[in-house]
């Protein structure tokens, strides 16, 4: 008897090839995704920290340190930024570099750093970080310490002097952003500068206000949840088709496009309401500053919900049954969430994986929410994210409209 029950289940699984495939393919897909995320990533690219240097020291030592540090595999030197306003304080400059150029750590070498007495250093290298990635600035610090020790030793030997000596550095302000070519002359330095006490890590965005990380977590979860929720609502289209209600609807004055627009409006509205409720709860309980970022939140929420709604209708138009839709949407939503950063923080991913994230809703949506909630960026800063999401909305909506025409004629 027990075996018969077991046999029935096996036969049912065997006869349902789609379910059978999902049972074995989905675990393999997710194993591969997480393996790529936590190992070296697709194409053997490593997880690198995007670093910019602000060299106010402008000495040959500081330039050599930067050059050496940039050879470390953990560091990806952000180039081509150019010069910026000399008036900007380093904190403001760091915030700009992080938010606009997606730099993860800004290394500030203060003027006179390499000239100070190594026995009693009063100046420190500041590592301004975005505060999201808890590992990045530590990796950079370790690499810098190694580079400083290496460069100062080399220079000491080259100068044929014992370790400590005086140095002359050109003065500079924050206008000389990384890769600046200083012609300042230098002499040797002491490897003691590589001591951890010489480094100071600073969260560039938390210096003047409370900024809970839960804002970023909430966005990641919200987008994944929204995708699942939207697909559930999109399934109603197939439910109506299976129940014959679609035929009845289309025999009324309602057209297929009106039906799709109505569904899209509902799913988008539901998504917006869900995100609003979620972030309002976040504000009440977890101190997420929703009110202070409402305009950006509203723009990102609408764009994300709209894209999710179109995606749901697109999937529903592709599938023949709710069962099929369920299987396909689980695979796609979980894959997009894993690659796009909803399940695993993108800062631990390789560059290739980060690039793959750009092909997901989650990637664009999280970038936008990050700009709004973490970087305090104005509406204009999320134009690209909103544009991409709305373009996806339109494209998938049009495809869904074309695909569902066969239903109208069925």
């Amino acid at each position: 008897m027990i075996w018969t029950v077991c046999e029935i289940s096996i036969l049912r699984l065997w006869n349902n090839k789609q379910e059978l495939a999902l049972a074995f393919v989905v675990p393999m897909i997710f194993f591969s995704i997480f393996a790529m995320v936590f190992s070296r990533g697709v194409g053997q690219s490593v997880s690198q920290v995007r670093v910019a240097f602000v060299d106010d020291d402008r000495s040959s030592e500081s330039i050599a340190i930067i050059r050496d540090a940039s050879t470390h595999p953990e560091i990806k030197l952000v180039t081509g930024i150019g010069r910026t306003s000399a008036d900007w304080p380093i904190e403001k400059l760091s915030r700009m570099l992080i938010s606009r150029f997606k730099v993860e750590v800004v290394v500030h070498i203060p003027a006179g750093f390499t000239a100070q007495d190594p026995d009693a250093p009063t100046l420190s290298i500041h590592l301004f970080n975005e505060g999201v990635n808890p590992i990045g600035h530590r990796l950079v610090q370790a690499s810098l310490a190694e580079s400083i020790a290496m460069q100062l030793s080399v220079m000491s030997l080259a100068a044929a002097k014992p370790t400590r000596s005086e140095v002359v550095f050109a003065s500079a302000s924050a206008n000389s952003v990384l890769n600046s070519n200083s012609n300042s002359t230098t002499t040797a330095k002491n490897a003691d500068f590589a001591e951890p006490s010489v480094f100071k890590s600073v969260n560039a965005f938390a210096s003047n206000k409370h900024q809970p990380k839960v804002a970023m977590v909430a966005a990641g979860i919200a987008v994944m949840f929204l995708l699942f929720s939207a697909n559930g609502a999109g399934a109603s289209l197939l439910e109506e088709r299976e129940a014959g209600t679609l035929g009845r609807l289309l025999s009324s004055r309602l057209t297929l496009n009106q039906l799709l627009i109505g569904k899209w409006l509902y799913i988008t509205g539901l998504g917006c309401t869900q995100l609003l409720a979620m972030f309002a709860w976040g504000q009440l309980v977890f101190e997420v500053d929703l009110v202070g970022h409402f305009a950006g939140f509203a723009a990102m929420t609408f764009a994300t919900a709209a894209a999710c709604a179109s995606f749901a209708l697109f999937l529903a138009s592709l599938c023949k049954s709710r069962h099929q839709l369920h299987g396909v949407s689980v695979v796609l939503v979980l894959t997009m969430s894993a690659v796009g950063g909803s399940m695993v923080p993108r800062y631990i991913m390789s560059d290739t994986m980060k690039q793959l994230g750009k092909f997901t809703f989650n990637g664009w949506a999280l970038d936008g929410f990050q700009k709004v909630f973490w970087y305090d960026q104005p509406l204009s800063a999320i134009r690209l994210e909103v544009f991409i999401l709305l373009a996806i909305t339109l494209l998938l909506g049009l495809v869904a409209s074309l695909m569902t025409r066969r239903w109208g004629a069925a």
């Binding site: 129940a243 209600t245 009845r248 025999s251 004055r253 004629a409």
Partner: protein, 316 residues
């Protein structure tokens, strides 16, 4: 037989007086190599209930979809004698209970009324009429998934007539429900016929088609193989003879024509025309002091007619 309404006609000759609301002429439609419609031709007249009978795959649902504009004919044409939008003239009742199971009766009726373009001012009244018509008033606030099968079927029809269509297409509206609910549905349809609605109905229930339809069209292989009233169809095919069975208390040696005796001599059977032959036969047995225990008269059925025309059972 359902009482024929003043607008309905029972013979082809009489129907020709009226203009049909739907004229289907040489309709062809194929699904790949399978010919679903193969020169289908028939008319539907105002106030008429036309039953479309045929085995599975005969083309019944296809022709309903074609009339509704959801499928196109590859050849032939469908003429609908109504002005305005097609969707305003047609009410379509699908085979499935195609209403929202998680809405109440009232919510379903209101939603479908709006979708059919019933003006907001009239909608409330139309919904109230539909509730009364379908005898669902007392359950108006009940969710559909809590209703019996019969109630759901009634709601299924009610949702299709809120816009008062001139033509109602019903695809097996009584499948899977009890006789009382079926009777109730035909009462509902009668009231529509009385106001001149033309109804095209497909069904597998031969008994109800025989008793309720004004005319029947028997469809097989995508074409009409016979149409007319039941009596007309019988007259053209197996005739109107009734089967007579008699049982005797004692063994008989011979019986008058057209009866034939069973092997044991205790029963006799035969076909007789109308009721005039029965008194003559009974008088014969009475005169010969033959004691009869059971007399059974069987009218020819639509089942026999259908079998004769198509060579197969309806559900084949």
């Amino acid at each position: 037989m359902r009482p024929v309404s003043s607008n309905a006609f029972s013979t082809d000759a009489m129907l020709q007086i009226q203009q049909p609301v739907i004229r289907i002429d040489d309709a062809h439609h194929a699904y790949g190599d399978l010919r679903a419609l193969n020169g289908l031709t028939f008319d539907l007249f105002p106030g008429e209930l036309l039953g479309l009978l045929g085995p599975n795959g005969a083309g019944k649902t296809t022709i309903i979809n074609c009339i509704a504009g959801r499928q196109k004919l590859s050849r032939g044409r469908i003429q609908i004698a109504s002005e305005g939008r097609l969707c305003d003239q047609l009410g379509i009742v699908p085979q499935e209970v195609a209403v929202y199971q998680d809405l109440t009766i009232l919510q379903n009726l209101t939603a479908f009324g709006r979708l059919h373009g019933v003006h907001a001012v009239e909608l409330k009244q139309r919904v109230a009429q539909a509730l009364s018509w379908a005898a669902l008033e007392s359950r108006r606030h009940a969710l559909v998934n809590t209703l019996s099968g019969g109630m759901q079927r009634r709601l299924n029809i009610a949702c299709s007539v809120l816009h008062q269509p001139k033509i109602l297409l019903l695809d097996e509206p009584t499948v899977g429900i009890d006789p009382q609910s079926r009777e109730r549905i035909y009462t509902m349809l009668d009231s529509l016929l009385e106001i001149g609605t033309a109804i095209l109905l497909t069904t597998h229930q031969l008994d109800e088609a025989q008793s309720c339809c004004d005319r029947m069209a028997i469809i097989d292989g995508g074409q009409i193989i016979a149409s007319g009233t039941f009596e007309e169809l019988l007259g053209r095919t197996i005739g109107t003879s009734q089967q007579l069975n008699l049982k005797f208390t004692e063994q008989q040696r011979q019986v008058p024509s057209p009866l034939s005796l069973s092997e044991d001599g205790l029963e006799a059977a035969g076909y007789i025309d109308g009721s005039s032959q029965l008194p003559r036969l009974l008088n014969h047995f009475n005169m010969n002091r033959v004691s009869i225990t059971t007399i059974t008269m069987r009218e020819p059925t639509l089942q026999q007619l259908f079998l004769h025309l198509t060579g197969k059972e309806l559900r084949e």
